[in-house]
Amino acid sequence: MKILVPVKRVPDPATTIRVLPDGSGIATDNVKWVINPFDEIAIEEALRIKEKQGSGEVVLISVGQTAWQEQLRTGLAMGADRAILVKADTPLDTLAIARAIAKVASDEKPELIIIGKQAIDDDSNQIGQMLAEMLGWPQATFASKVELAGEKCTVVREVDGGLETVAFPMPAVITTDLRLNEPRYASLPGIMKARKKPLNEIAVDSLGVDLAPKLKIKTLNAPEKRQAGRKVASVEELVQVLHTEAKVI
């Protein structure tokens, strides 16, 4: 089975993010970049499916700049078979990225696309759903368990207040939630092997899809600084304050 895993390059969650003074973006000097953690879970799930089936191919895809190769190589070091970098020199919006991935998917014809439910930088949570729509495939979002049987796939989804089990035919799109699995580390022999695995570049312009931006980021603001806490003298005062000021009881 061929599984396509879209991968996004995002700032390391441990990095302190600073918004640029003009609000146009974040300062990227001294930022370490990693694979979006939810996409890492997607890679792990794809590798587990391949290992369980004993055959298949895990193909990674990114839409971004040359530097994104580094995250694709990390995914190859985890065990993916090959990678495709759709090169876009300027950042694209979500819809354009989904169109680019959908176009490549229609050529690659994977049985499954597994992708993180959202990227930890912009938290937009859209690509998986857009891909399902564009390709006309079923989708199972926020997966916490994936089981394959023949042509059918069963996914347990994390929904508000519980779990929902859905079954659907493949090809399909699955987006991964945090509890689906714990991704493996790229091993040292894996890193050595990754060097020789194919990483093909495709220019985004050559795909013939509409890349015109529909979304414009107007400004970014840093979260407001948290106010220092305050001490109260007695339980009575605490109850009073929770009632009159915080209005939680």
Partner: protein, 389 residues
């Protein structure tokens, strides 16, 4: 324990690393952060080695990572150094385990062993299924290994080994010991397997340093060895010294990891703790200490990166390693002691990693060529006059 594993790259040396080097470091750092630092303080307190990490480190490819073939990862030496750095950022004992397994025991077999010995031991050692130790130092012969008293005498086709070794990391948990002994022709090495009649070990207790690491004595009482136990290419003191060069190379990198953890801890602590009217980090005396630490760590990083490049190019001499080991470990020890002081009373408890690193680094400064011995090695190199023989 708070997590002080951090990045410290003031001179943007990352730009000089290959993507594979960076990927290697990132993977090991993540592993250490998740699986080592949460447990290391308890191992130090209980004086136990985290045995459960051995299969994980093996799966990762850490053992013999810079050796080629025999199931080893075949990394370059800069990547290998970065691995050592990340391991020692957690604890010098963990890096010591990896150094002894890889740079001493495996390297001895790799460099001086027969093809049969290499095929028999190296793949299993890379998989962590066989643990090795390295017996060179004796109770009365530390800096002067050439004075060793352990002897092997010919007995038919085999050998009879007698003597003792002390300060042997991994000694009692090792499945095999690479043991150096005198024969009529000079010094040579033997592989002694655990359970050989007459071979016993005893752990050294009461350590205030390297508590999360096992240190033992090895005793050889008429141990009968086959002819095949001898490392055929190991002739003379240069054979074990070549192994020490490999280990010292890793130590020079490892020390940066320990220093970095102490620096980061002192930086975070002094920025957060207020005394009088401002954070401690707002005082000139404290800033002076922090800036000295940053400067020394950056210099050590530059030394190691260049040393790694020379090792890969085949132009590194043992004296180059002496300079790096001598400088970097003393640097790390100084930083750990200063950081201990900067943390005040909090610097003496294991809520912070500083005092553990400080105590460990006393060992690191002593073993694998004490600071003063490296001084003499370098002194001989630049003057042409040996001051210690």
């Amino acid at each position: 324990m708070a997590d002080f594993i951090s990045d410290l790259d003031f001179y943007q040396l990352d730009e000089l690393l290959s993507p594979e080097d960076r990927m290697t470091r990132a993977a090991v750092r993540q592993f250490v952060q998740r699986e080592v630092t949460p447990h290391v303080e308890k191992h130090f307190a209980d004086s136990t080695f985290p045995l459960e990490l051995i299969p994980r480190l093996a799966e990762f490819g850490v053992f013999g990572a810079n050796l080629k073939g025999y199931g080893c990862a075949g990394m370059n030496n800069v990547a290998y150094g970065l691995i050592m750095q990340e391991l020692e950022a957690a604890d010098s004992g963990l890096r010591s385990f990896a150094s002894v397994q890889s740079a001493l025991a495996m390297y001895a077999i790799y460099a001086w062993g027969s093809e049969e010995q290499k095929n028999r031991y190296l793949p299993l050692m890379a998989q962590g299924k066989l643990i090795g130790c390295f017996g060179l130092t004796e109770p009365d012969h530390g800096s002067d290994p050439g004075g060793m008293e352990t002897r092997a005498r010919k007995d038919g086709h085999g050998w009879i080994l007698n003597g003792m070794k002390r300060w042997i990391t991994n000694g009692s948990i090792a499945d095999l010991a690479v043991v150096w002994a005198k024969i009529d022709q000079g010094i040579t090495g033997f592989i002694v397997e655990k359970g050989a009649p007459g071979f016993s070990t005893r752990d050294i207790h009461g350590k205030f340093s390297m508590r999360a690491s096992i240190t033992s004595e090895l005793f050889f009482d008429d141990v009968r060895l086959d002819a095949g136990a001898q490392l055929p290419a190991a002739r003379g003191l240069k054979a074990p010294l070549a192994c020490l060069t490999q280990a010292r190379y890793g130590i020079a990198w490892g020390a940066i990891g320990a220093a970095r953890t102490c620096y980061q801890c002192a930086l975070d602590y002094t920025r957060a703790r207020k005394q009088f009217s401002r954070p401690l980090a707002g005082y000139q005396l404290v800033q002076n200490k922090l800036v000295n630490m940053l400067t020394e760590i950056t210099k050590a990083q530059l030394i190691c990166l260049r040393l790694g490049q020379m090792k890969d190019a085949g132009t590194m001499r043992p004296e180059h390693v002496s300079l790096a080991k001598r400088n970097n470990v003393q640097m790390a020890l100084d930083i750990a002691r200063t950081a201990r002081d900067m943390l005040g009373a909090n610097g003496i408890v294991n809520e912070y990693p500083v005092i553990r690193h400080m105590l460990n680094l006393e060992t690191v400064n002593t073993y694998e060529g004490a600071y003063d011995v490296h001084t003499l090695i370098l002194g001989r190199d630049i003057t042409g006059i040996g001051a210690f023989d």
